[in-house]
Symmetry: C2
Subunit: 446 residues, 2 copies
């Protein structure tokens, strides 16, 4: 396909597409616009940068610099260039060059949107004070780290007990800060069922995080976060309330949006406009278990969707069949993972379920350094189709979730999973893998 | 189902069946005959007992003692009782009580065979000398440990570079012995392709094992193993040449045998005799990728097949659909796993294949303690159905094989595996899981 491809957004969803398009079509002109200073970085690594496990500064998280894209893939990457408007009919993007303070427009034959998402900032008094930080882009990380270097951050308040909130809480404990985590729900990690999430909350407390569940933040003033149970002193506040798709450009351009305002795309990652594709945190995904559109902003999906979009933009044919809701983290020495649907999501999808939760060990019981692992499996009553799983445990526990993730893709029943020929040796688990034990127990509930 | 069930063999394949039968049928009389002194133990743990990682003696490897079976499940377990003959028509088993030196016969309504396997002992001069040890049962472990305590085992020769050979080599290095491993093939670990197995051989050498490939053992005399390249001094010799089904009783009784003399069973684990079932190392399994009968003696299969046989013996209905050839080990700090078919097995099964081998990291590249992982994936040309995978790498590498194992059960193509929503966070892998990267690379070969 000849002509010019303009990519808006220089992280995974954008640059994976740009790279694939280039590989498919050497003649394509590819321009990538990135508002910030970085391309293709691991935002998931930010907590480890803050916590000090990863050294070398924000650059350590950059997979590919703009120069590498220019030199190796002939992609015209323009950082500090913000797309400010899209005219789909005219095939033009308005661009603001923040480096030189100039605006210009650029024509496109094909457009790819990877505008990502931004941290949710509830409309609270003081939310825009400079000591309140969201953590989504590497630029955000730069700002947070500058703050941390400038101010002695002994007291940290993390607002929100999702993955990023927990990881940031751990990071600041690792820096030596006194960390309070405020979560309005009765448990941290709303993506897990309360029984499983409770174990993660316990792990945080053991690690020294002051976890306040059922508490909401009401306002901020310099040095203080006011909550429903009183003020908390804070040298820095980190927001971990999730993200919302950065969809303004797309909405103004008239593109269709769906769940949480994320862009509607088809299996090829095409938006409602023929020549416009999209990938990553700004898009919906199709959930293969609930059979519904969802907004699950994760780096893996951004990379996968970007790859698919890029193949299509480059004249090939590829599809992104959907997601099963897999996520994983390690926080305060405890590994946590989930896939499929949790109880709440089953109810929302109108799917009946039974569940079983089992306790086992990560290695053979007699093997040194064996640790606890808890596995919960959900399945549909009757035929027993698997609906989801959650894992909490010590080293070696959580990556087992991939076994269930693949089983969900395959439409396995609990019986099928129990029959699976999983690997066993004493350094890797008990003879019945904990995932198989959970499948066996859920079978008894059917 | 009323009457008496006689189980021959007190390890996993036997006792898993006995326990399941009891759970299904409270009225059944269950007698379990075990030649040795132990029931339900982890033979896979023996190398860690010898190497000193596991303390507490052989009892540490026992999951359930005979007394527990008697007390909790009303199973009449008789240790040191060897079945010496079976009369299927009369429904009788001849038994030798080694404790009292007496023989007797016992009638059965149903019979379950879990006679296991024994280490291959090639017909070489001196093979029966007491310093030459096979390692299959916990009784074997007792004998080996007694030898090791009685004699200063500074020089150890391990014959055979399969899983047990490698694990025993590592165990003796951990004990401070000088270990020579002799393997007649050009590489250790014949269950892996040579390119992958070579990495394991390198790991053994780095650990201090003197690995001699292409060398065969010709005879033994006290203190010496004679090989094709000269004599090797040895205080103890450990055989790691694989195992052969202990099928004599079954063959004499007229039961059908197949691959390597293993018992032929149907999906319910029923032998060629209506009232006789079998499970574990004495049985064939059906390989779901090659669609052929195989003999893969592993504790996981013994437990799974025993469970299925027990449900059927107890009057229920269960099937064991088959295996995909998954195996895993950790040796000298290197994790190794395989599933499905390797190149040789593809050729034997008449299946064309393409393959891709990729190098990646076990965690995000920038994350501390990230290590190398190599993944090889085999798929059929054209449609790309997955045929198998092999993994060699550092901590966290090998259990990823389960992802491919489930994909093989599901009949996935390389495309399907690439589409799988696998878990990602920096402490657990790169954003593209190494297994997905290997699937992506094999797609390019199709």
């Amino acid at each position: 396909m000849p002509g010019r491809l303009v990519v808006i957004g220089g992280d995974a969803g954008g640059m994976a597409a740009a790279a694939q398009a280039r590989r498919r079509d050497a003649s394509l002109e590819i321009v990538a616009l990135e508002r910030g200073a970085y391309t293709s970085y691991s935002a998931c690594g930010i907590p480890y940068l803050v916590g000090g496990e990863v050294t070398g500064g924000t650059e350590a998280l950059v997979a590919r610099t703009p120069q590498v894209f220019r030199d190796d893939l002939r992609i015209d990457v323009r950082t500090r260039h913000e797309a400010t408007g899209i005219d789909l009919e005219a095939g033009k993007v308005e661009v603001r060059n923040h480096e030189h303070g100039r605006s210009f427009s650029i024509g496109f034959d094909q457009l790819h949107l990877a505008t990502g998402a931004r941290p949710v900032r509830p409309d609270l008094p003081g939310i825009d004070l400079p000591f309140v930080h969201g953590v989504q882009t590497l630029g955000d990380a730069d700002e947070l780290l500058a703050h941390v270097r400038a101010v002695d951050c002994t007291r940290v308040v993390v607002v929100g007990g999702g993955y990023i909130g927990l990881e940031m809480a751990e990071a600041f404990v690792n820096r030596g800060s006194k960390v309070t985590l405020v979560e309005s729900a009765p448990h941290v990690l709303g993506s897990l069922d309360p029984d499983m999430a409770g174990r993660v909350g316990d792990a945080l407390r053991r690690f020294g995080v002051d976890v306040r569940t059922g508490v909401s933040v009401e306002s901020f003033e310099p040095g203080v976060a006011h909550t429903s149970v009183g003020p908390l002193a804070a040298d820095v506040v980190v927001l971990g309330l999730g993200v919302t798709p950065s969809n303004e450009l797309a909405v103004e351009a008239g593109l269709a949006t769906g769940v949480k305002g994320a862009l509607v795309v088809d299996q090829r990652q095409r938006t409602s406009h023929e020549a416009t594709f999209a990938a990553g945190d700004c898009c919906e995904s199709f959930h293969l278990v609930s059979r519904r559109a969802v907004h699950i902003p994760l780096g893996t999906h951004a990379n996968r969707q970007g790859r698919v979009a890029g193949i299509n933009l480059g004249g090939g044919y590829a599809t992104f069949p959907g997601v099963v809701g897999t996520a994983i983290t390690k926080v305060c020495g405890t590994e946590v993972a989930r896939t499929g649907l949790n109880e709440r999501e089953c109810k929302e999808a109108g799917l009946g379920f039974v569940s079983a939760t089992i306790d086992a060990t990560t290695k053979a019981g007699y093997y040194p350094s064996t640790g606890p692992i808890t596995v919960k499996v959900l399945a549909q009553p009757g035929h027993g189709r698997l609906l989801g799983a959650q894992i909490v445990g010590e080293a070696g526990a959580a990556k087992r979730i991939d076994t269930v993730a693949v089983a969900l893709h395959a439409g396995f029943t609990a019986d099928d999973l129990l029959d699976a020929d999983l690997a066993y040796a004493p350094p890797f688990g008990p003879v019945w893998d904990p995932v198989a034990v959970a499948a066996r127990e859920v079978l008894k509930q059917l």
